[in-house]
């Protein structure tokens, strides 16, 4: 799928989810952040959390279903998600601070928030 198409889909998703951390009217920078986050996610996260974030592969240590914020163990606020990625979480989630810059982790947070269901409080 071309990057432009991904961005359009994500924009549509974001607009339909006013309660999410993404702004109701995301600007180009936010959309760009989600797109960058997706690229990083594909490279670093899919083996545990799956391509759709639902962690249905269920292979590596009961990875969190990222599409369901009620299943999060270490907080759902963007700064909490950021900390979980940066410093690790639970038993199995490793800290990524040595491999990803803070800016990249922020992009990942943007993408993860875009996985939440529409209308979710």
């Amino acid at each position: 799928m071309p990057s432009r198409t991904i961005a359009a889909c994500l924009l549509a998703l974001a607009l339909a989810s006013p309660e999410r951390a993404l702004a109701a009217d995301p600007g180009p920078r936010e959309i760009e952040s989600v797109v960058s986050g997706k690229a990083l996610y594909v490279q670093h996260c899919t083996t545990c959390h799956g391509i759709d974030g639902k962690a249905l592969i269920d292979v590596i240590a009961n990875a969190t279903d990222l599409s369901d914020p009620t299943a999060y163990y270490s907080g759902t606020r963007p700064e909490q998600i950021f900390t979980s990625i940066r410093n690790g979480a639970g038993v199995a989630m490793p800290p990524w601070r040595s491999q990803l810059r803070d800016e990249e982790i922020q992009h990942l947070v943007s993408f993860i928030l875009s996985l939440w269901p529409q209308g979710r409080e």
Binding site: Q43, T47, I51, G88, G90, A92, P94, P95, S98
Partner: protein, 651 residues
């Protein structure tokens, strides 16, 4: 090492050396020459030794069935067909007596072991190392059902495995007569390519032909035949009593699908238009022995290559165009050519750009387009396609692509070095061996200290050990590396599977020719090893020099699944500090216990020398702790490896 330890080891070596020689010459040496005797008070414990009947039996000449005289049994008719088809080996436990005895008597190399499941894994391993058809057999009922996990593993790997089992009398059908009754064919539904319960004695040759047509055509897979007594014991004095009693040249063909020239022209055009083309060479390239054509194709047009499948090394990992250690460049590829990729991933499972164009070459038309949408599908034998492509492709240099691959390799190596450094630190801090150290030091030993790094076939299994080991293990010639967990993900066949590989190496079959005498090496876990440990007896019995490195972390590697669940952890744990090395010694092998990198390297060097020089198997018990699996406590912890690439197990 204390004086007592030294004396014990020397005494043990005496036994092991004699034991190893035994298979070839123990009959002459006699049991009295075996020096390993333990002294427990006033009771003298008899030595572990090889039975004289073993060596006598192995030295006997083949005696295949003949129509003359008493005639051939149904089992002998089948065995002679298997011999003509060059069945490469039989791995079994007693049971299905008439058939296994006939196969052995016909001259097919046969191995008998301790459990049908493990022997099935050995047969699978032999085939993964050679590409040849191998057989496994067990008794009806319990023996057959013991094989199920490993038949399924062979099915996922597309191994041409001939599964044989006896199966009651036809006259006893539906009556639960005697013991061990089971309906076999429904049990293997979904984990075989073809299966048949033979119910008509005169069709035994006909169905043997069915079996080999399936085993040697198209995409391979397990074939399951079950033999009622009326079939295996029937007798035939004339070929006319058998239906379709033809030579193999008449009941199957070696003809293969050639690619249509127009399809090859389209493939050439797509490759020429691409800036960063990549071939994924799957199991079909190995099965069809297309590695020379693959190399010629890649080098002619600077096409990158990744390999996949249960038998690795069809393209050398150290080649400048190989991406197995360069996951960072995969997203840049703009065209992928899947050749012989039997187990097909879906988009997203491979680390490719979603916009990548795709060509797929496959011997069976109906599989083209499954899972992965194609820009071009080509029906062809894998080797024939690669040969034609190599001929048709114009020479082309792709400097930027080659440079990017090299940079990605360097970046990946830096990552591996960093994790190894962490592993050394964790090992020093805790006093226990981290899996990254085991994995890296094993490959380092092969690269720098083994006589020939390519001679030793390695297999990587277990959970934590497998995920770490796969990253560091390298394959530089066909079937140089076996992936026991490939696709099916079974934790358990590893150790036995590598013994089957070892049998293939000792016999120099297929791509193992020229490496006879070399040891094989298996990295596995305490959880996985438990399924096949007793086959050390089998390895020693047949003089198979195997080295097994056990990552002993006192638990199932998946224990983090229990970390957030009440009353669950106990289900994931073993007793701590179990001495698998002592169990190995009890089975007649050399046992090593290590906790530091230095001890590990010393033990590995010693085990290698014992295997190489004296054909003695070793088990190295690497004591670790389960917490090394935790990414939080000991980053990076475990994670699945990017695919396609080193450590891939899914596709």
């Amino acid at each position: 090492m204390s004086e007592n330890d030294t004396a014990r080891l020397q005494s043990r070596r005496d036994f092991l050396r004699t034991s190893a020689i035994g298979v070839g010459a123990a009959a002459a040496a006699g049991p009295s020459s075996l020096a390993f005797a333990a002294d427990m008070g006033e009771t003298e414990i008899p030595s572990i030794r090889l039975p004289e009947d073993l060596t006598t039996s192995l030295a006997e000449d083949p005696s295949p069935g003949k129509f003359e005289g008493r005639g051939q049994s149904g089992a002998e008719v089948f065995a002679n067909l298997c011999k003509q088809e060059e069945l490469a080996g039989l791995f079994c436990c007693p049971g299905n007596y008439t058939v296994i005895n006939a196969l052995a008597a016909a001259g097919i190399p046969a191995y008998g072991g301790r459990s049908e499941g493990s022997m099935c894994a050995m047969a699978d391993g032999f085939s993964r190392a050679t590409g040849e058809v191998t057989a496994t057999s067990g008794t009806e009922g319990p023996g057959f059902t013991n094989m199920i996990m490993n038949i399924a593993a062979a099915n996922a790997a597309r191994t041409p495995l001939l599964v044989l089992a006896s199966n009651m009398q036809i006259a006893g059908e539906d009556r639960e007569r005697a013991i061990q009754t089971v309906y076999q064919q429904p049990t293997t539904e979904g984990i075989k390519k073809y299966g048949k319960r033979l119910i008509d004695p005169k069709r035994v040759h006909e169905y043997g032909a069915y079996a080999f047509r399936h085993l040697k055509s198209g995409v391979p897979g397990p074939v399951h035949l079950d033999f009622p007594a009326e079939v295996s014991r029937a007798r035939f004095k004339d070929p006319g009593e058998l239906t379709d009693f033809h030579d193999k040249s008449r009941y199957r063909t070696e003809s293969r699908a050639h690619p249509i020239p127009a399809d090859v022209a389209r493939a050439v055009k797509l490759i020429q238009e691409a800036e960063r083309p990549l071939i994924v060479a799957g199991q079909g390239v190995f099965q069809r022995r297309g590695w020379d054509a693959l190399k010629r194709t890649a080098e002619k047009s600077d096409i990158a290559v990744a390999t996949s499948g249960p038998s690795r090394g069809t393209f050398p990992d150290d080649h400048r165009l190989c991406t197995m250690t360069a996951p960072g460049c995969l997203m840049s590829a703009d065209l992928v050519v899947f050749v012989g990729q039997y187990c097909m991933p879906s988009p997203g499972e491979y680390l490719f750009n979603p916009d990548i164009k795709a060509i797929r070459v496959h011997p069976v038309q109906e599989d083209l387009g499954r899972n992965w949408p194609l820009d071009l599908g080509i029906v062809s034998d894998e080797a024939l396609f690669l040969e034609m492509l190599a001929d048709e492709l114009p020479r082309k240099k792709r400097g930027p692509w080659v440079t990017e691959i090299a940079a990605a390799k360097a970046a990946y190596q830096t990552q591996l070095d960093e994790v190894y450094g962490l592993g050394l630190k964790y090992s020093k801090d805790t006093g226990y061996l981290h899996p990254a150290v085991i994995a890296r030091d094993t490959q380092h030993f092969l690269d720098h200290d083994a006589d020939d790094r390519d001679a030793v076939v390695m297999g990587i299994g277990g959970w934590t050990s497998g995920l770490f080991g796969g990253r560091y293990a390298r394959a530089n010639r066909p079937a140089n590396l076996i992936v026991p967990a490939y696709q099916y993900g079974a934790i358990g066949p590893d150790m036995a599977m590598m013994m089957g590989v070892c049998a293939a190496v000792q016999r120099g079959v297929g791509p193992q020719a020229g490496y006879e005498g070399a040891p094989t090496l298996c990295i596995t876990s305490d959880a996985g090893m438990a399924y096949s440990l007793f086959e050390l007896d089998t390895a020693i019995k047949y003089g198979l020099p195997t080295i097994t490195i056990v990552y002993n972390n006192n638990a199932w590697g998946v224990w983090p699944h229990a970390a957030r669940s009440a009353r669950s952890m106990h289900m994931y744990l073993f007793q701590e500090n179990l001495r698998y090395d002592q169990l190995a010694e009890g089975l007649g092998a050399n046992g090593e216990y290590v906790r530091t990198p230095q001890e590990f390297n010393t033990a590995l060097a010693r085990s290698y020398r014992l295997a190489r020089d004296e054909k003695v198997s070793s088990l190295i018990n690497c004591q670790a702790i389960k917490e090394f699996t935790s990414g939080r406590a000991y980053p990076p912890g475990v994670s699945m490896n990017p695919e396609p690439g080193c450590g891939a197990v899914a596709h």
